[in-house]
Symmetry: C2
Subunit: 530 residues, 2 copies
């Protein structure tokens, strides 16, 4: 199902001061050149998975010649976000026709095997990373102007001519990021899988830290508010690039629209602009993201600037509560994110996010000594918690239900725990019951899994949290992840909310939180070396 | 059948002085901007022809919006050789995905309708003029870096996104040529068709006059020797750009290879280089092209420089005559051009070209007072004529035959007439007989048709020559030619030597000779106004 928002009457009120601050914090990207590490062959196994089945040294490329229909797949050895160049030459008679190439870029082997023409999803096929290029004069240095996110690059020679063949003398990727991976010290947990999980988290985050915190450098390539909150948390325990986080917070606060709402995502090209997409949960979480930033930096100026925006997001949702003092059931409308996953009812989770956000609102108000707001939030929070239990708690099942169909999902339980609707003991019972029952409406994104782990930790289940991280992110690693994926449903590995996994992002910042979780909640307690 | 030459031991001996002269004559291209004139729809008739079936004003484009799958075909009103730019913008929500476009360029409507994936010919499919382009940020000015030859440009929106549509605000072609069309005064023959034939000839020539005399600006895009001779002749009665002709002659003479042979075609990018293709008839005709240039310019320095090259080409062929003093039958080998056309035996025609070229050799020798060479050519010419009659003349059929299979073709008769093997009366009988019998091995290219018209004029059949021009080039005009086509077989309009007409060139310089024929042989005699 297509999940897009289009607002007919979309009135943006730009705050020029905020946007100037954001602009002043635009990072200068670092770059490094990476040659391909191997030449590989990719094939589909009988289980439908695509794997590298043959490898050769990259040096072999220099001696290869390509005729009509020939292909080669370069493996750059790790995930790249950057600009590719190829040095091309001809062999044989003088070049007497253009060279016509088809280039494909894949973060995972499957993208090389999948055929673009088979894609019929609802998200734009323009996100599939491929190019068709003619080269009229050889030798030539082909410098592709677009940025790609990839590890594998397939070069297919659609045609040369009968008189000459193509040589690919050199290939390189100018990899870019706002940060340097080696500036973050690794952790030694004593557990290889956890160490690797941390390393891949940091790599994932690095790849997504560009001009802004991007959600994914392959697809979307832009700043989403819900994603930002998790990326920033991981950043505060790793790269500590506070300016980039600050830049992003000012971008959101600098472009409110109707009623003072802030957008779920903003564009920075050709100039800053908000998307006409309002996601209630993302907007609410702005305050949490602001508080995280303040906690990491103690930057009071930013707090003063952006506090009203955070509080306004809570007000807007409260103003729209229904007669039962709960969030209206959004149904199929794309007004609240929570998680991808077909059929998830989001009413109960949204109420949880509201209460969770009010807690952060109170923290912000306290720092600023805004007692009036603090009291109002405290009162509202109690009302909302009570309304949540009255409306969503199913005494018989001892689980939260959501929507008219009284749906039981993982998300509802988790957000109610994070909202602290119950005390720790009852929350603990609830999370254990949820795991035992394993509701059919499961979690699909690492974004939602993060909140599950957060809930486990809240309930004192730290060891189980580590186990679950290993079962989820660890399984992704075993499935070959160089960076963590946007979507991972262990029950359906080809799941995509877009109609096909070919447009899934396989380096997605909201999946990088293991480094945050490990370093924030475990490192000190367990005495891990950083 | 693939017609390519690849020489294993290809040794080029560059004459730097000649190449410096060629370089010093490189033209500065003129350019002008042309917007599209109309928006058109093209469809295939029940006879398989592609035609414009609907037209709208180009101004409509400004108000159109394009979504996934939408197409528009721009008609620039006439043949263009140049660089295209488009101003693109988005409408609706903010652009949230790249725009993915497929662009097709066609000299004739059929190229827009034909599908590239259906092409399976032997010549490179890279000549099909199409591009796939992603545009990441709108608004954007898309300036395509490659040069196209086209009248029609189809823009297909492969995808945008559900949130925005594409607008094409402006399209323009920066058309380029070494010469200005309006520098040539039109002729008034009193016959609309002949006037149009002259105009289209001049347009065709203009479009092919670029950095060198190109054969066709769509495909090949380079300097072929046989084509040059005809282009230059048309140039001397129209644009009179003597420098470009001189440049081309020096390029051929500046890069001889094994035995002093000159190449059938030369490349100028990335630097001057000859193709490893030797075509006996093309090489022989270098002398005729040199004489034409001298006659037009009286440039004695060039004549002195290039005369040895011209004579050497004749020597090489004479040195390789067989025991009967005729050219060896080339069979299927691509060593002699004469004409495209399946199954044409070229032995007799090649002998004709040799004798024809010796006549020009004698003319050159006379101008330079080189009596020794003149006498040698006179003697050889008589031997070759006698040998031609002995070997190829079939007394019973009163026609020339060629090759082991004693093939009767139009080409053999025509080249024997142009070689002046017989006197004018016998030649006249022969051309009349040929037309009456209409040998099954017909003419396919305007290049060969030019020699047919030349033969008719030689035989005193001027009026018939005009009629035949109207039947051939006039029919092309009625079939919609904006510029004259590389190939035109009135008996098989989709004929292609390449496996599919999608790679045929529809603006081909060797087809531009009507202006030469009309202005050289008719204008003065008939008192036509120029």
């Amino acid at each position: 199902m297509a999940a897009v928002s289009i607002m007919d009457e979309f009135e943006v009120h730009k705050n020029e001061k905020f946007l100037e601050i954001a602009e002043s914090l635009r990072p200068k990207l670092r770059s490094r050149f990476q040659p391909p590490q191997k030449i590989v062959e990719i094939a589909r196994t009988k289980f439908g998975e695509c794997k590298v089945v043959k490898e050769r040294a990259a040096a072999v490329l220099q001696d290869m010649t390509f005729r009509k229909g020939d292909k080669v797949c370069l493996d750059f050895g790790d995930h790249m976000v950057g600009y590719v160049s190829l040095e091309l030459a001809s062999k044989g008679s003088h070049q007497d026709a253009p060279v016509f190439l088809h280039l494909k870029f894949g973060e995972i082997p499957q993208e090389i095997e999948d055929k673009s023409e088979d894609y019929h999803g609802w998200i734009s096929r323009s996100w599939i990373q491929e190019e068709y290029v003619h080269i009229d004069v050889l030798p030539a240095k082909l410098e592709l102007p677009r940025r790609y996110a990839f590890r594998y690059m397939e070069i297919e020679v659609i045609d040369v001519s009968l008189k000459f063949s193509l040589q690919i003398k050199n290939a390189a990727c100018k990899a870019v990021s706002a940060v340097n991976f080696h500036d973050v010290d690794p952790i030694n947990t004593g557990d290889v899988m956890l160490n690797e999980m941390d390393r891949i988290s940091v790599r994932t985050l690095q790849e997504c830290m560009q001009d802004v915190f991007e959600d994914g450098p392959k697809r979307d390539q832009r700043l989403w508010l819900g994603d930002l909150r998790l990326q920033a948390r991981a950043n505060y325990v790793s790269f500590k690039n506070y300016d980039l986080a600050k830049r992003c917070l000012y971008l959101f606060a600098g472009m409110p629209f109707n009623e003072g709402k802030i957008s779920a995502c903003v564009f920075t090209e050709p100039e800053p602009a908000p998307d006409d997409t309002y996601l209630m949960d993302y907007a609410l979480l702005f305050g949490a993201a602001l508080y995280d930033y303040y906690e990491a930096t103690k930057d009071m100026d930013t707090l003063v600037d952006l506090y009203p925006t955070a509080i306004r997001q809570i007000e807007i949702v409260i103003d729209n509560l229904n007669a039962d003092h709960v969030v209206e059931d959004p149904g199929d409308a794309f007004v609240c994110f929570i998680d991808w996953g077909e059929g998830l009812n989001k009413q109960c989770s949204a109420q949880g996010v509201l209460i969770y956000s009010m807690r952060y609102g109170m923290r912000l108000a306290k720092v600023l000594g805004d007692e009036k707001t603090c009291q109002w939030l405290e009162k509202e929070s109690e009302l909302c918690k009570k309304a949540a239990v009255d409306t969503f708690w199913d005494k018989d099942q001892q689980l939260f239900i959501s929507g008219e169909e009284k749906q039981i999902s993982w998300a509802s339980q988790i957000w109610m725990i994070l909202a602290r609707v119950f005390d720790v003991d009852m929350s603990h019972e609830l999370i254990m019951r949820t795991m035992s029952i394993n509701p059919r409406i499961r979690m699909v994104t690492p974004y939602m899994y993060h909140h599950f782990i957060d809930a486990l930790i809240r309930c004192g289940e730290e060891e189980r949290a580590l186990d679950e991280m290993k079962r989820y992110w660890g399984e992704m690693i075993r499935d070959g992840a160089d960076t963590f994926w946007e979507l991972y449903n262990p029950y359906n590995k080809n799941e995509s909310p877009y109609g096909s996994s070919i447009v899934n992002s396989y380096c997605h910042a909201w999946s990088c939180t293991p480094t945050y979780l490990l370093r924030k909640f475990f490192a000190e307690k367990k005495g891990w070396m950083i």
